[in-house]
């Protein structure tokens, strides 16, 4: 048993085939089934996700240990691209969709694309972490600001958005072209977090103005933003997913991760099974694992992602998260409120403000609407 387990692991490691689609930043990864008997019919569970494959693979491993005959084909891409692909390619839908862009996931579920599934594991997670029996939130992650402490030069770490604005004002041209943001038109998560800021805070307008004035750089995902931060291309990264940022902070001590103390937006990564999934049974088992104490435990201990369950313990559990300095936790509600984020008219308004701020010369910035 032990020997075959180790052998299986080795095989997995060897056979990870990673394709990278440079144009769409899409990565295809295969996790072959553990059962190597040639005559055995292998089942494939296709998962699309906007989660770093290193973060999610412990969960895949746990799944395959339970169901050794299943191979997992994981397609990793950014949230908006996944959504658009889902809509535009009805023939190649996955068995499970994982994404932190709650609004896009919700829209798909609301429009009837999700399969209803009464998972027995739903009792493990808070009531407001799923919508109907279709969309399941499985993580609890803060949206944070990351900062290269070299820029401070003796100044205090800006804990709130107000302090961040003050820092930008005081450093002024030092920060030109040195602020990293999600490109809200490319990243679903970026749009969600930004639009939610618009609902929450009065500092939103001044932040936008400041980002525009200093020609903020736009990124489509957290990893590339953190890479830029590490390389010194940017000093401040606003609205990142906390999990990755904290991991980088642990590795590189000059990268500071801040949960803004005025309020801290919390997002849930959500999962659903598309109605036309090829392997609904396998997908249901995956959802069960995701929501089970075991799955939540793996997230809290091996994936570096804070799970939704309040019961599990681990370095990345909700308990540990709440011990870090933070503001009021404002979880984005998983419900019809999310429809506002997908509204076209609202989107045009936000894009319009954004474009005016980002793509006008610094001198014209006073003419923002």
């Amino acid at each position: 048993m032990k020997v075959s387990y180790v052998l299986g692991l080795c095989l997995i490691l060897v056979s990870h085939i990673v394709f990278a689609d440079a144009a769409q930043q899409t990565t295809y990864i295969t996790f072959p089934s553990l059962n190597k008997q040639p005559k055995y019919q292998e089942n494939v569970l296709a998962i699309y996700g906007a989660i770093n494959h290193q973060a999610i693979s412990p969960l895949f491993k746990a799944y395959q240990e339970k169901y050794p005959n299943v191979a997992i084909h994981y397609t990793e891409s950014n949230t908006r691209h996944l959504y658009e692909q889902f809509i535009s390619q009805p023939n190649v839908r996955p068995d499970v969709m994982l994404s932190p862009a709650m609004d896009l996931q919700f829209k798909l579920a609301n429009d009837g694309y999700a399969l209803a599934y009464d998972s027995p594991e739903l009792s493990n997670v808070p009531k407001d972490s799923h919508w109907r029996n279709e969309l399941f939130g499985f993580t609890y992650e803060p949206i944070v600001t990351a900062l290269n402490s070299d820029i401070l030069v003796g100044e205090a770490l800006p804990l709130s958005r107000e302090q961040l604005l003050n820092l930008i004002r005081s450093k002024n041209h030092l920060l030109d072209d040195k602020i990293g943001l999600f490109d809200i038109q490319q990243s679903g998560l970026g749009y969600l977090a930004w639009a939610y800021d618009g609902q929450q805070s009065r500092s939103y307008g001044r932040l936008l103005e400041a980002f525009g004035t200093h020609q903020a750089r736009l990124y489509t995902d957290t990893s590339s933003m953190l890479n830029a931060l590490l390389k010194g291309q940017i000093f401040i990264a606003y609205n990142l997913v906390g999990a990755y940022s904290y991991q980088w902070s642990q590795k590189y001590e000059w990268i500071k991760t801040i949960m803004p103390t005025d309020y801290t937006t919390i997002i849930m990564r959500t999962a659903f099974i598309p109605r036309d999934a090829q392997q609904p049974t396998l997908a249901k088992r995956f959802i069960d694992l995701l929501l089970s104490s075991e799955g939540q435990h793996i997230l809290a201990n091996h994936s570096g992602i804070t799970p939704i369950s309040t019961k599990v313990k681990g370095p990345y559990s909700r308990d540990e998260l709440s011990k870090l300095p933070h503001g009021i936790f404002r979880p984005i509600p998983l419900g019809l409120e999310l429809l506002i984020q997908t509204d076209d008219a609202k989107k045009r308004l936000i894009y319009h403000e954004w474009d005016n701020a980002m793509f006008t010369s610094p001198n014209d910035s006073s003419s923002l609407p």
Partner: protein, 476 residues
Amino acid sequence: MAKATTSIRRQLILMVATVLIVINVVALWSAHIYANRAAKESYDRLLYGSALQMAENISLLDSQFFIDLPVSAFETLALSTSDRAFYSIMNGQYQVLTGYKDLPNIPFTQLLQQSIEKEKFIPIYYEAMYHGETVRFVALGKRLLEADSVNDVFIIVGQTLDARRAAATEISQMALQFVTLFFFITLLLLLFVIWRVLQPLQAIKQAITERSPQELSPLEANVPSEIAPLLKSINFFMTQLDNTLSRLKRFTAEAAHQIRTPLAGLNSQAQNALDETDEVLRQKQLQHILESSNVLTNTVNQLLSRATLTHRYQSHPFSPVSLDHVIKETCRELVVWALEQQVEIEYLGDIQVTVNGDEFALKQMLQNIIENAIKYSPKGSVVEVELMVMDELSETSVVLQIRDQGIGVPDQDKEHIFEYFYRSPDNFASGSGIGLSIAKEVAEHHDARFHLKDNQPTGLIVEVIFPQRKGLSYES
């Protein structure tokens, strides 16, 4: 034995349960209708509220629509936590400005009409299938004015029905719980009330069961006024029974005595006759024996005829009897015996009367009365038998009188004369003493009244009055 009809208790319970069930079913049905309407109305209001908030945030800016939907519009919809929602905002040409582009069954004609009438827009509610689920929609218009242009926008908001169904079910279930509780409580109370109401009947039954068969004194029980007549009837009946029983006892004792005494007399007379050496005296004693045995025969005959009559009362239905004919026949049969006693029988009356009755019994009655009259008549007198019609107040009745000229009956004896084996203390004639009582029984059996009157200057009149009844007819 009378068969018991359906028990009162069972009937009451059945009726009460039926009424309760009907009431409760009606209550439940109403609650169900109310629940559906309440849920529908409240959720329609939410839908309308959401549409209003959306409408509030649509404006015209340089002839361009400016739509900035508020989160609250969606938060209102999110109050139904498990429902899908869809919305769409269209301009006057029904082009979708934002929201869902393929909403079904939009009431364009009504919206257009409201648009043309230029009055206030009123919300239009409708249901349609969308994405495989029934969706309740509200369509609302809004007029946007800018300088010299008028533009209408239409807001459509829809939501699936889970929350309202759940709300309706919840209200219905609460109603069901309440009604069920109410049903059982009322049923229990009513069962108690029924038990309580029927308790006196049970008490009477208990009181009767516990008595010894000989005890016939009136029942003492506190009963409600509705049951009191029943108790009264039972007590009356028991008194009757008591009387009848004691009469029967006395009769049996007397009968035994009446038979034993002549038997003893016969015995001793026969003994005397055996011992008598004088032929003449012996002849005389034998004569006495014959007389005593005649009396005994007579008594036994009367007893037998009475038993026969009692049996006939129960088994023979009445038939029309020609009363005058029976009377004449009886007189004719008795006339020889009367003459032997040197008494004449005279029949007066020329009417023909038919009564509904038992001919044998009537004849027995006549025989007894006439024999009795003859027995107490002095030699050479006449017993008159008369049948006549008498008008008494508004009623016409037929009256039969048998008059003798004997010593009559003193008033204090008149009431005893009908008792079995009663004989006037001054009576020396032979007789059984049950003749008149049998006659009276027969008369009463025929609903006739039986009277004793004094004759003038002396003697007794026995009067039998047949009242006007069905079956009584007469001709002069």
